[in-house]
């Protein structure tokens, strides 16, 4: 592996049962410091790729190499250490509902460092300031909106300044202002921290504005990859159907079924 590659997914296959694979022979490369999108329709396996990288699911075949080390070959302590270098933003934020905003962001710092209280306070306030929510630090997760919760989760995921950031559908269900804010934050944090960033999303327009490179997935396979310009110029019907958002095409509108005439007995 060349020095420039921070993370590589090699021939990765995964299925909850042996006969039904969710990921089929996935190959991906993430350059150090790049901002890369994983795109595709719902249920195509994007989130599962993230889970495999975080070793929350064990692949049936293939490797995930983080700076040359296979994360699935690590023991419990090694894996915990590797995960400390990954910041993950879950789809709905996954804030700890029994802790307030401040304590949520302080959580990774308290668990993994012996920093004195005043220093933790400064760090937490800086992270919250970066997402514009320093003033909300005493609120509970139930008292803030979905968009704000996403920003708090973002602040929490960068608490330890991880070199790898993974965002799972950060734009889902957000109003245009919140969406723009989150997109802006993701781009800025990528530039400021120099962290390799993965963005799982199906929001084409917003994503192409900010990413360096993108993979398009369908039914557990990578069907296209390239810079936004290259993908827009793609002639693969599966890629163009996704990017243009047509309801029918190589990805069928109908779930497989017997013909309707037969089902209705006509």
């Amino acid at each position: 592996m060349d020095n420039d590659t921070f993370l590589a997914v090699e021939s990765l296959s995964f299925g909850y049962t042996a006969d039904r694979l969710i990921l089929k022979n996935i190959n991906m490369r993430f350059r150090r410091g790049s901002l890369v999108a994983l795109m595709g329709g719902s249920g195509c396996g994007k989130t599962t790729v993230l889970r495999a990288i975080g070793a929350q699911v064990r692949p049936s075949r293939g490797r995930v190499m983080l700076e040359g080390v296979d994360v699935h070959g690590l023991d419990r302590a090694g894996l915990a250490a590797a995960r400390r270098r990954m910041g993950m933003l879950f789809q709905h934020g996954a804030l700890f509902t029994d802790l307030n905003i401040y304590e949520n962001v302080a959580f990774p710092l308290r668990e993994h460092t012996d920093l004195p209280g005043p220093m933790i306070r400064d760090l937490v306030l800086m992270k919250l300031h970066a997402v514009g929510l320093r003033g909300a630090s005493r609120l509970m997760p139930s008292e803030i909106s979905g968009g704000m919760a996403r920003r708090v989760a973002l602040a929490r995921s960068i608490a330890l300044d991880p070199p790898l950031l993974m965002y799972d559908e950060p734009f889902a269900g957000l109003d245009p202002i919140s969406l723009g804010t989150i997109a802006h934050l993701i781009r800025n944090l990528n530039a400021a921290l120099g962290a390799t960033t993965m963005l799982v999303t199906h929001d084409v327009a917003e994503t192409f504005r900010i990413v360096d490179y993108a993979y398009v997935m369908a039914a557990g396979e990578v069907i296209g990859e390239g810079t936004p310009e290259e993908l827009m110029a793609s002639t693969d019907p599966r890629v163009t159907q996704f990017l243009e958002g047509r309801s029918d095409g190589p990805v069928p509108f109908h779930y497989p079924a017997v013909p309707i005439a037969q089902e209705l007995g006509l």
Partner: protein, 260 residues
């Protein structure tokens, strides 16, 4: 016929596998609980939620069980002209049997369900997955302090239940019915053995504490991460804890006080 045997075999294998899985989980939880003693703040927080918040239901139930024991005990003893033994009867019933068992059943309903639902909802909200992704073991950070707190809380709650129960029976027996207070207390003092009666009662409630806390945490941790899954898990906790406590109580009573 062959199919039935195969099904029985598959069922038994699945049960055995589940049992082994549960046992391994218990061992890991025990080890991490020992380690969690190094973070007393987490345990104290949980002790407040599990112990203090259960105090009202435990004391009120204890008081009423004491009232009823006073009435029923007097009615039975009076037939044999030995109503002055009421204090002894009540104290033995509570310290050996009712205190640990009823406390455990109430604990399963009050604290066990809240533990299961809390863990299940944390799982459904991906909070446990998020913790795992931060390199923090949810079993060590979330489950272990709760386990230790439940083990500390259960014997204390059972003792509280028994003490309030004795006061309840004193109110009914001595204050209302008019049993002689001197014999009520002196028979109790003379007849209750610290090691055999109270000591064994405490051991029982500690064992019930392990059972209730383990079932609540295990079921919550294994809950399907959906609203139906969490509600089913909560019910399972109460049913399983109650049955296991009652079964163990029979065996423990046999072993401790003879007969088996």
């Amino acid at each position: 016929m062959i199919d039935d045997i195969a099904r029985l075999g598959a069922w038994a294998l699945a049960r055995l596998g589940g049992l082994g899985f549960g046992l391994r989980f218990l061992l890991r939880l025990t080890w991490l609980s020992i380690l969690s003693l190094g973070r007393p703040r987490l345990i104290i927080e949980q002790l407040y939620f599990i112990g203090n918040r259960s105090l009202s239901i435990i004391t009120i139930s204890g008081l009423f069980v004491g009232f009823v024991l006073g009435l029923q005990g007097y009615y039975t003893l009076e037939r044999y002209g030995s109503s002055e033994a009421l204090g002894l009867l009540v104290a033995l019933s509570l310290s050996r049997e009712l205190g640990p068992v009823v406390t455990a059943l109430l604990f399963a309903g009050r604290a066990g369900t809240s533990l299961t639902a809390g863990i299940g909802l944390m799982k459904a909200g991906e909070q446990l997955a998020a913790m795992e992704m931060m390199g923090v073991d949810p079993v060590a950070r979330v489950l272990a302090p709760r386990f230790v707190a439940a083990l500390i809380a259960m014997p204390l709650l059972a003792a509280m239940f028994s003490a309030v129960g004795v006061i309840g029976s004193w109110i009914v027996g001595v204050q209302i019915i008019g049993v002689d207070p001197g014999s009520f207390w002196s028979q109790m003092q003379a007849g209750v053995d610290i090691r055999n009666d109270i000591g064994n009662g405490v051991v029982k409630s500690m064992i019930f504490g392990v059972i209730c806390a383990f079932i609540a945490l295990f079921v919550g941790n294994e809950a399907t991460a959906t609203p139906e899954g969490v509600s089913r898990a909560t019910t399972d906790t109460v049913v399983a804890s109650s049955l296991v406590v009652l079964g163990f109580d029979f065996v423990l009573t046999g072993l401790m006080f003879g007969g088996l």
